[in-house]
């Protein structure tokens, strides 16, 4: 990187005052976590006693967790590459979440089944081998899905602070962040409690609204639309235009992934539904949260569009970096939004927004690392061991897996060479789990004749989703869009679920044996 480029990228409003704000914010979060720690046991009693969190706090924690740094980054990238047409992702996510809330589709039935995790439901409805395979597919899809989180989070920090001038900055920030995340998580995840989630919601909501206001002030409302018309034409607004970044298949894929999967099948969202007071509470929370589900895509989409307009019309030196005409490699467009924020948001406010983003990043990592490591421990390793596992063995196993997964995401972030947008990468890798899971949940909850063989085969068919990844397609020498692969995998999983159930129905003796085994295991778990 030459000196001229380094000079361009280091221009930011992020100053030493902002670094102090970031450190103060994170320190205060730790202090609050320590203060709240003495209540944590009581809080479990409080919620366990049937008095769930209030609706407001429920919405705040749901939004605080869902509107993480990674979400903001991949959504802004979509706005940068797709223009206003990317807004359709927010719209379908909000509409589908509202409809799931209004109808209770999947989530209410799942809540009524009184399980705490989806693999547990697999065993209750089908058998143990379905639970183990479900756990493997869930962990495989989930861990691959978070493979680029560390890199994306580090790009935000490097971009917004102006560190991107140095080539060593990204791997160094990634390593430091990983160490922080691992310490944070293995401390017991005790800071990810409602109070810090609530503070994150307040700061991030205010920060996002301020950033939107400043972006409109700096660039001009009409200028935003005029530039996208000139640069992208119809494709910058109409998501159904197949010559653009999207098309009909993509919109359908988004209705399924950003809508249905995000709120009703993805484990971190379903966990809230399964822990709610009752099915009625689940519906109410989902209907209100549909606004949050919409905004977590919409504002970052908008900031990505604003970054595109600033770069292409008001900053020739940045334009030359992102859209070079001399044949040199362009700068990764993930840097666009953080560089844009670093240039337009005033000192002080940019520190506060960055601090809340980093705190949200830690909270998301904490939830995901715990989710995937505990799935592997509880749903794969423990059921496969003949003598089961003691509580201490389970905790030790989970902690080892947290470190292993952490090292994997550092490696994957440094060496994965796919060119897909981050959101498309996440949709395809997540599909390894959710395409099969959708078929199994749909069959299990709504079709009495769904059999364990059908469920097993449907879960297994999710593996075809990896064909949607760029490097896999290059290896196979084929070229199919990720959304087409995803939709075909969904259809195939449903077909396999129906065919497998009709050809290999469960006999009642085998099922009663499997259920008795499940009940014994549950009793053993409660003893642990």
């Amino acid at each position: 990187m030459n000196e001229h480029t380094a000079e361009i990228l280091s221009q930011t409003n992020f100053s030493s005052i902002d670094w102090v704000i970031v450190l103060l914010y994170l320190s205060i979060s730790v202090v609050i976590g320590l203060f709240v720690r003495k209540f944590v046991v009581n809080m479990t009693d409080y919620i366990g006693a049937g008095r769930a969190l209030g609706t407001c706090l429920g919405i705040a924690t749901m939004t605080g967790t869902e509107m993480g740094l990674v979400t903001v980054m991949y959504s802004s990238q979509k706005g940068f590459t797709g223009g206003f047409a990317a807004f359709h992702i927010a719209l379908v996510a909000g509409i589908v979440t509202f409809l799931v809330g209004a109808s209770g589709f999947i989530v209410a039935k799942l809540r009524e089944s009184e399980v705490l995790t989806i693999p547990e439901y697999y065993e209750k409805r089908f058998d143990r081998k379905t639970r183990v395979l479900g756990g493997i597919m869930l962990a495989l899809g989930g861990i691959l899905n978070m493979g680029l989180f560390l890199k994306v989070g580090s790009i935000f920090i490097v971009g917004v602070t102006g560190l991107s001038a140095q080539g060593w900055a990204l791997p160094l920030v990634m390593t430091l962040l990983l160490v922080l995340v691992l310490i944070y998580t293995t401390l017991g995840g005790m800071f990810s409690v409602v109070v810090t989630d609530y503070i994150q919601f307040v700061v991030l909501s205010a920060g996002m609204l301020v950033a939107t206001y400043v972006a409109i002030q700096v660039i001009g409302w009409d200028h935003l639309f005029e530039t996208i018309v000139a640069a992208k034409g119809q494709a910058g607004f109409d998501p159904f235009v197949s010559e653009g970044a999207f098309g009909l298949e993509y919109v359908l894929w988004m209705a399924f992934t950003a809508g249905l999967v995000s709120c009703a099948i993805w484990p971190t969202a379903v966990a809230r539904a399964l822990a709610a007071k009752d099915a009625k509470t689940v519906k109410k929370q989902y209907m209100w949260s549909s606004i949050s589900f919409m905004i977590r895509f919409l504002i970052p989409n908008f900031l990505g569009i604003a970054a595109f307009v600033l770069i292409t019309t008001k900053s020739p030196e940045l334009n030359a970096l992102f859209f070079p005409t001399d044949g040199s490699a362009p700068l990764d467009n993930l840097y666009a939004m953080p560089i844009f924020l670093g240039r337009i948001i005033p000192t002080g406010i940019i520190g506060l927004i960055s601090a809340a983003m980093i705190a949200a990043f830690m909270s998301t990592h904490d939830s995901y690392l715990l989710a995937w490591s505990s799935v592997l421990t509880q749903d794969v390793i423990a059921p496969l061991r003949r003598n089961g596992m003691t509580g201490a063995e389970r905790i030790k196993c989970t902690r080892i897996l947290i470190v292993v997964i952490g090292l994997y995401i550092l490696y994957w972030g440094l060496f994965y060479k796919g060119n897909d947008d981050i959101w498309d990468y996440m949709a395809v890798t997540g599909a390894i789990y959710f395409t099969g899971s959708f078929a199994v949940l749909l069959g299990g909850l709504y079709w009495k004749r769904a059999s364990s063989t059908g469920a097993f085969l449907a879960l297994l068919s999710g593996i075809f989703a990896v064909v949607g990844l760029g490097p896999v397609q290059a290896l196979l020498g084929i070229q199919i869009s990720g959304e087409r692969v995803g939709l075909l995998t969904v259809a195939f999983s449903l077909f396999v679920m129906v065919l497998g159930s009709l050809l290999f129905p469960d006999n009642s003796y085998a099922m009663s044996e499997a259920r008795r085994e499940a009940l014994n295991d549950k009793a053993q778990m409660q003893e642990v």
Partner: protein, 43 residues
């Protein structure tokens, strides 16, 4: 294209306004919930 430009303008403003109202509502209500939560736990 004029339809889509108008549609996204309205959509953006409406959702942003809804979110601003929700954020204020949740901030105030959430504070009340937290206070209640701590009072219960203190008791």
């Amino acid at each position: 294209m004029d339809f889509w430009i108008a549609f996204w303008k309205i959509c953006f403003v409406v959702v942003l306004a809804l979110f601003a109202v929700l954020a204020v509502f949740v901030t105030i209500g959430g504070y009340r919930d937290i206070r209640e939560l701590f009072q219960t736990m203190e008791e």
